[in-house]
Symmetry: C2
Subunit: 349 residues, 2 copies
């Protein structure tokens, strides 16, 4: 880390990025228990329950002003979303979430009625996904709202999908559609700025229910993991959920699997209305998909032997191919050009 220090001998954490930072801070930690067979580094940690089952554990912090803005995120939606994003990490391991713990630290500007709204959203998510709230901590903060959620799931040991299992020749698949959550955020930010400069103006959310819904109340792909994938009868060789953007997730799989990737722009699902909206915002639609994030769709690879199984799955799109690491990570554009893919994601630091 020497090279990153400034003149005062202080290293800015921004220079490492979130993932580099976690790796650096936790690299010297030993493991004491045989049950701990996958530690820091994937969507979730894995504990061996010893009967062919594994437990899958994931945790996230959401902070006001960084991950959400209470000017446009209703507390009920925030409660719902904060649960969903954690469950999505469990599904991304091809496992089923069962329990959550939910902790908050709040400043005294939050009333009981505000917290009731938050917990109504948490409860709705627990009901929809069939998970149990089993604990949590509620404490105070000097400023703002901090949320910490831990999700606990269960899976079959031989069906867990890691980020590290992709092999050259595998087929890259993505569920649903991408880019909408990011455009929803653009609309909410635009209306916030208009409101701030003129509080008398009513927000004009137009015909944008879909993209705003994708931003404020996303869903995790329970259907894929509980129904469609088992019904199709395959196990993804690797899987990750799209939280930071398609490009960032592709790089996670490539780095942890030691492979390269070719992404076909034409295979990336973007709804026509989302494409049009992107252009209205002077944004390239594929950039919204690659770097927007918060879609909570599943990106996975399958063995070429399973091609027939994925080809006709509902809401699954083949969008690329795993290649040798030496071939790099490339985007084949619709126009026939080949570019190096850039890992954008959203760096919070």
């Amino acid at each position: 880390m020497e090279l990153l220090r400034d003149a005062t001998g202080r290293t800015d954490v921004n220079k490492l990025g979130e993932f580099g930072l976690i790796r650096h801070l936790t690299e010297n930690f030993p493991t004491h228990h045989a049950a701990t067979f996958k530690g820091v580094g994937d969507d979730a940690a894995i504990l061996d329950l010893g009967n062919g089952k594994v437990q899958v554990i994931s945790t996230d912090i959401l902070t006001e002003g960084i991950h959400f803005d209470l000017m446009y995120a209703p507390l009920k939606h925030l409660g719902y979303k904060s649960v969903v994003v954690n469950l999505s990490d469990i599904y991304a391991m091809n496992a089923i979430p069962k329990q959550i713990t939910y902790s908050i630290a709040i400043s005294n500007r939050f009333s009981l009625e505000a917290l009731e709204e938050l917990y109504a959203g948490i409860r709705a998510a627990c009901l929809h996904y069939g998970v149990d709230l089993i604990g949590g901590d509620t404490t105070s903060a000097q400023k703002g709202l901090f949320i910490s959620v831990t999700a606990i799931g269960e899976g079959e040991k031989d069906k867990i999908a890691y980020r590290s299992g992709a092999k050259p020749g595998d087929i890259l698949c993505i569920t649903g559609d991408l880019g909408a959550a990011y455009l929803g955020l653009q609309i909410l930010e635009r209306e916030k700025q208009i409101y701030l400069s003129n509080p008398g103006v009513q927000p004009d959310l137009g015909q944008n229910d879909y993209v705003i819904g994708r931003q404020l109340k996303p869903e995790a792909r329970k259907d894929m993991v509980e129904q469609f994938i088992p019904k199709a009868g395959f196990v993804p060789t690797s899987m990750i959920d799209v939280s930071d953007g398609l490009a960032s997730e592709i790089f996670h799989i490539c780095r942890q699997s030691g492979v390269g990737m070719i992404l076909n722009e034409g295979g990336v699902p973007i709804r026509p209305d989302v494409e049009k909206l992107a252009i209205d915002f002077s944004l390239d639609p594929i950039t919204c998909a690659l770097s927007g994030g918060e879609d909570y769709e599943l990106l996975f690879t399958v063995s070429p032997d399973d091609l027939e199984k994925v080809k006709y799955m509902p809401d699954v799109y083949i969008c690329g191919e795993v290649v040798e690491k030496s071939e790099g990570v490339k985007l084949h554009t619709k126009g026939g050009n080949i570019h190096d893919l850039k890992a954008q994601g959203w760096v919070h630091f």
Copy 2:
């Protein structure tokens, strides 16, 4: 909650207290999974692993300015303590901690070197207690440092000690000694105020290593749960760790067990040097024990049949008796007086 509303229809969460708030917010949550057999309300949640074993899960948030002050808490100590306080919740269920997740949200005033200090403390605690760090999230905050730790442990289903199992006639026991952590905090606060008014003055921590150590680097009672209690051959009828103060913990046991309690002042272990220091601060030593908190000792009840087993245990003190609920919660002073015990604890809100 109607009665707590102010003129604007807004209810201040302070009026419910932390425990009332959690109970209120989570009272309508259903349970979906048979494995979830103890939800919100004890030191930790319990999941049935189905082989006579249970998993015990506890989570805490620590926030800068509320739970710790970086003016006198070195980051390495903070890392250590933040792990220990969570492990203490697992031991308080008569279970053994195995894994933790550790998440932080930080403002950009923290350098990599500062985080390395924090993680050195986390690592030292993991090594000392034999637990594995299996995951976590590292993200940014607009201001301050927020820590969220989830601890996962394992216990035998028929040996888990809940808060709810105390029965009239049971004997109340406490480990170690109380009040020191609170007095350590008083010294640190005093020196902070002196430093703030005159930054040239060196802190005078005097001969107070013990109390300052109890505040900055507490230990959880691994020895009790892993060795002394099993060796003595009993299962506590109820157990809780002393985080908010002896009085507050007694009230938790009484409320959840539906019993009353008589606490004998003479049985509450306070070190002579701690007693003297309390008096120097014009504080009543028993008040420091009752309301100080952060001692992380274990308070438990045992069946009178097990009296002989606890009587000669190292570092265990008999300090009271469980009585019928109708008899209330009383303190028998050394002077022979009987007072109603007040649940002070430290209300964070």
